[in-house]
């Protein structure tokens, strides 16, 4: 059940009405309803993996209790590692088994051996990377005595499986979401309206911008050999816009949906393409994952404490692991490595915290210097996305060599990929709105606060009709992050 599908458009109002009306606003009943709805939502993809989700949830729930009841440290450690190994074991099997088997076999064949490893036809359960990380953060926090284990299985299950975040995040923390699950929730008019507005913006990003860009990007990435350098740049640009609008659009819908149920989720994107350096980009891109790695990997490894060498090592580890989290492919690892290299100068020169606020804060337009730094950061990001999008490393290098060829100076092949000026205008207006609303949680939140009712409603109506047009006439693509 996709967020941009008719089935979700029916599912959401039904759950919303049951949640606020049929449960009599009884917290226990509301949570049971949320859990049933979440499991139904998940089962719509593949009911078989529901067992894995329930098992993983139960394992973390019980090991959490066992850890807190452990008589001594070694017992506590045992339960902790049992949970960690089981969680990572599932993730490793479903997501990485074939990658390791194939890579190992490939490595041995280079040494002259002829290994015969089995690769399995493993289907990746949707959202496994996300709900595993929910569970891991819970178990680690209990182990470090940051939180006490939850003793209500329903509440804990809602924390892991709450349907808006179940398949592609934001990756929640027990410290943030569990208290909300356990507290009575009152319906707030402003919050619900804000949620609907954010859903509308998310749908616009996904269905209008991302899916159309995907169409163009796919055409170019499917046959890079036939396009000139400038068209290949255009392909990378389309993918850059696609991945942002796809993932941040998804996050907007998830956050907005949760708000309809009185729950606030973590922010996941904060206008990353307006970043002035790579460090700022990573504070604004997939925030819930970046902070997860910061808190559960970077800091335990020593973080920025210790010498320069230690810092450099930790940065490389965190970015490579982050790349690998996205998928079992060398392209993701290379993408992580590239970002580690990008961020390194600012780490070494200690300028990584120079740009903590949004660009041109309180101003209409950025300074020349800001434009230059934003442009440079954006260009570096576009380059890195080529590796992220490529099927394999060889493909990526061929694509890059295609870009940096003589044909780079030729006119891009717009017509051949069906690109037209109307779509260009829509993308341009989109970025103008994003820039205009960059000091808010999401771009059009500002409209809700500033515009008079008639203009506001007319704007929402226009957005709805444009979404309607693209949902009927345009191509529909799977959310990119579902594969992770």
């Amino acid at each position: 059940m996709l967020f941009n599908s008719l089935s979700f458009a029916l599912f959401l109002p039904v759950v919303f009405f049951l949640y606020w009306f049929a449960t009599g606003r009884n917290l226990k009943l509301q949570n049971i309803l949320l859990l049933i709805a979440s499991y139904f939502f998940y089962a719509c993809w593949d009911w078989r993996f529901l067992f894995l989700l329930v098992f993983s949830t139960a394992l973390d729930f019980f090991t959490g209790i066992k850890m807190s009841e452990a008589a001594n440290k070694s017992r506590k450690k045992f339960w902790f590692w049992l949970s960690i190994i089981a969680n990572l074991g599932f993730l490793g099997f479903f997501k990485y088994y074939n990658f390791f088997a194939a890579s190992f076999a490939n490595g041995l064949s280079h040494l002259g051996f002829k290994p015969n490893f089995w690769t399995l036809q493993v289907i990746l359960p949707v959202g496994i990377s996300f709900y595993t990380f929910h569970g891991l953060s819970y178990v680690i926090d209990i182990y470090k005595n940051k939180i006490k284990p939850d003793r209500n299985f329903i509440d804990y299950s809602v924390f892991v499986s709450f349907f808006p975040l179940l398949v592609a995040g934001p990756i929640e923390r027990a410290t943030h979401l569990l208290p909300q699950v356990k507290t009575n929730r009152a319906f707030e008019y402003a919050k619900a309206v804000d949620g609907l507005r954010q859903i509308l913006w998310g749908l616009f990003k996904k269905m209008v911008i991302a899916d159309s860009c995907a169409q163009f990007a796919n055409q170019i990435f499917d046959n890079p050999g036939i396009y000139n350098g400038s068209t290949l740049v255009l392909g990378a640009l389309f993918f850059t816009i696609q991945i942002y609008c796809d993932f941040s659009g998804y996050s907007d819908i998830a956050i907005g949906t949760a708000r309809l149920f009185g729950i606030d989720l973590l922010r996941n994107f904060a206008f990353p393409y307006f970043s002035r350096d790579i460090a700022e980009f990573w504070r604004r891109w997939h925030i819930s994952l970046s902070t997860w790695f910061r808190d559960y990997l970077y800091i335990p490894l020593g973080g920025s404490r210790g010498g320069t060498w230690m810092k450099v090592r930790n940065i490389f580890i965190i970015f490579i692991v982050s790349g690998f989290w996205h998928g079992a492919n060398w392209t993701f690892i290379f993408w992580g490595l590239l970002n580690a290299l990008y961020i390194m100068p600012s780490i070494l020169l200690k300028t990584n915290r120079n740009n903590l606020n949004i660009a041109a804060e309180g101003k209409l337009l950025p300074s020349f210097e800001e434009v230059l730094s934003m442009g440079t950061t954006f260009a570096l990001t576009v380059f890195a996305w080529i590796f992220f999008r490529s099927e394999n490393i060889q493909f990526a290098f061929n694509y890059v060599s295609g870009v940096f060829s003589k044909s780079f100076f030729n006119i891009p092949y717009f017509k051949g990929i069906g690109f037209n000026l109307y779509f260009f205008a829509i993308v341009f207006i989109f970025f103008v709105i994003e820039w205009w609303g960059r000091e808010h949680q999401y771009a059009i939140q500002r409209i809700g606060l500033l515009w008079p009712k008639l203009s506001r409603w007319s704007f929402y109506c226009c957005l709805s009709i444009v979404i309607y047009y693209f949902s009927v006439a345009g191509p529909t693509q799977q959310f990119i992050y579902f594969q992770f």
Partner: protein
């Protein structure tokens, strides 16, 4: 909660109303105008012609109403449907014409081995469905048979803007700059010569020719068309228009003539060597250009079967 639900309802009402207003504005804009050039249903009401031409693209690229007007002094109209070589579509199109006009004296069907029976109830041929999508929303009673033939869905018929969006007609409906040759001349006029580099000479079209096993069903549907004509006092004639020699197979082309003979339908074959051997008369293997149409018209003008059929002289 009450105010929230009320506002949500109001908002959806506002969006629905806006789409209705937009749909109405677009419907007014395209009323009695062509959107894509082929959506010609609206053009054939109150024409009351003496001759109607039926068939597929080969009909409306070959039969020039102006020629029949001058050569035979008969008012004629071309109601060929692009991409639809089945008789079932010709029947549907003729019925539609009859619903808005006096029955013509004559019907001329473009009939050749590229034609097949088809079915109005089990139609699988949705070629150029988009051309008819402009008629889909809240369909007029007379448009229903055509819309049902293309199996337009309920949302396409009853949700404002849905069919215009789905078949990507919005830009064309707003700009209305797709007035093609058909609208200007009453048939599809092609001045260009065959670009054999872009579109090489090939006999691939032979694969679509009538097969032996198709003859009974084709005969049956031709009989249906003939009966419809007789019922409305329309005299039916079939004309086999020229194809380039590479796809001309005499035996296959004779089979359509035999069907007509069996049903007592007069038949004219214009596949004469002067035309079919000469590349300059075609813009592809089965469509004549303006020179070819002029050449074919010379043949038609001299043809005794056609002249006696149209009671000329």
């Amino acid at each position: 909660m009450g105010p929230f639900l009320k506002k949500v309802l109001y908002f959806f009402g506002f969006v629905l109303l806006s789409t209705l207003v937009l749909q109405t504005m677009l419907s007014i804009r395209i009323y009695n105008k062509t959107v894509r050039g082929h959506d010609n249903l609206y053009q054939t009401t109150n024409v009351n012609a003496d001759v109607v031409f039926l068939g597929s693209s080969r009909c409306w690229a070959h039969f020039d109403p102006a020629f029949f007007d001058t050569a035979f002094k008969l008012k004629s109209v071309n109601i060929g449907v692009d991409g639809h070589s089945e008789i079932s579509m010709a029947i549907l199109r003729l019925k539609y014409y009859l619903s808005g006009n006096k029955p013509p004296g004559f019907a001329i069907l473009s009939f050749d081995p590229l034609v097949y029976a088809g079915s109005t109830t089990h139609n699988l041929n949705f070629v150029h469905k988009d051309d008819f999508a402009r008629y889909a929303f809240l369909p007029a009673q007379k448009n229903l048979p055509v819309l049902n033939y293309f199996k337009f869905s309920l949302p396409e018929k009853y949700i404002p803007l849905y069919s215009i969006f789905k078949y990507r007609l919005l830009k064309d409906c707003i700009l209305l700059n797709n007035i093609d040759n058909y609208v200007q001349y009453g048939y599809e006029k092609h001045d260009e010569f065959w670009d054999t580099t872009a579109n090489p000479v090939s006999d691939i079209l032979k694969n679509n020719f009538l097969k032996k096993e198709d003859i009974p069903s084709l005969t049956e549907s031709m009989d249906d068309l003939h009966k419809l004509c007789l019922k409305n006092n329309i005299k039916l004639l079939c004309i086999q228009t020229p194809v380039y020699k590479i796809i001309y197979e005499k035996m296959v082309f004779l089979s359509t003539q035999r069907i007509c003979k069996e049903l007592l339908i007069p038949f004219v074959d214009t596949n004469e060597d002067d035309i079919i051997d000469n590349l300059k008369y075609f813009y592809n293997s089965d469509h004549l250009n303006t020179n070819g149409v002029a050449k074919m018209n010379e043949i038609l003008k001299k043809d005794s079967v056609l002249s006696s059929f149209l009671n000329y002289n």
